[in-house]
């Protein structure tokens, strides 16, 4: 499904209204993991792309259960969204033709495989930014559902 222009503006790399998010994944037995993700971008209006900088349990979960849920953590004013859908990590080493819901490894790695070219890590405050970065790939979330996170109407479908 297509994201709204407001959502795209919030999630786009280097956008004016840059948000910090959490990516929730789960093991097949249902144990959840939340992964802090300050870097995001949007592709074809329906994919949320983020770098695999330190994913550990996230990757283990995705390796056995390819579903992800991204929630906006900050700033939340007007952005209380949760994006859910199929999720995978495209890694350096995948053949260029490897595809996940139509996104090929070739295009994903060329565009987002070195995130620092897209969005310098120093956009994050010095005491918060990673001291050293080793990007192994990109996380691709195909948005199939967006729901509301606000306490009063949590879970209500937005689109």
């Amino acid at each position: 499904m297509k994201l709204s222009s407001e959502m795209i503006a919030a999630l786009r790399a280097g956008g004016e209204k840059d948000v910090v998010t959490y990516l929730t994944t789960s093991s097949v037995s249902g144990k959840c993991n939340l992964y802090l993700q300050p870097y995001t971008d949007v592709y074809r209006e329906e994919f949320i792309i983020s770098p695999d900088l330190f994913a550990q349990k996230t990757k283990i979960n995705i390796n056995e259960n390819r579903v992800g849920l991204m929630t906006v953590a900050h700033p939340v004013k007007g952005s209380l969204w949760a994006f859910r859908g199929p999720c995978n990590i495209i890694q350096w080493g995948h053949p260029p033709k490897f595809a996940f819901h139509g996104v090929t490894a070739g295009e994903a790695l060329e565009k987002w495989g070195d995130w620092s070219k897209l969005e310098p890590y120093d956009t994050v405050a010095e005491d918060l930014r990673p001291k050293a970065v080793g990007q192994r790939g990109v996380i691709v979330l195909k948005v199939e559902e967006v729901y509301n996170l606000s306490p009063a109407s949590s879970g209500a479908r937005i689109s």
Binding site: V28, K59, I60, N63, E64, N65, I89, I90, Q91, W92, G93, H94, G137
Partner: protein
């Protein structure tokens, strides 16, 4: 129980495995058994020496979940890891495989295979390795 492919079975039977065990508190002890036999789709039996059985019997009694990684040249050619509960009866260690992972270095490292349909796992193997088992 997970379903092992013919390739997995062939490499594991011929070369055996490093068997990771641990206390309930997480203190590891690994033994190496140089061949295995596989019954059905996913039950692996190892014939231990008395020294090996004695070395891990307390771990198995308190924490039967073990990990298996193929030994010798299979550690390179057959990059899998198998996990599941084990039972020690005399000198026979029988492991019921519940989880199967690809451990091939690269983007597939840690990919869980047992959650996929068997035909997908076989296709995955065919696309990743040139052999279908150890040389005869």
């Amino acid at each position: 129980m997970a379903t092992m492919t013919p390739r997995m079975k062939a490499w594991l039977e011929k070369f055996g495995a490093h068997i990771g065990t641990a206390t309930k508190q997480g203190y590891p002890t690994t033994i190496v058994v140089e061949q295995a036999s596989i019954t059905g789709d996913g039950v692996v039996a190892f014939n231990l020496t008395p020294a090996q059985a004695n070395q891990i019997k307390d771990n198995i009694a308190q924490n039967p979940y073990v990990a298996l990684a193929p030994h010798a040249i299979a550690s390179i050619r057959a990059a899998y890891q198998f996990k599941g509960p084990a039972a020690l009866s005399g000198n026979t260690l029988q492991v019921t495989v519940k989880e199967i992972y690809c451990t091939k270095p690269g983007p597939e490292a840690a990919l869980r295979l047992d959650v996929l349909p068997l035909e997908h796992i076989v296709k995955f193997e065919e696309s990743r390795w040139r052999d279908s088992g150890p040389p005869k």
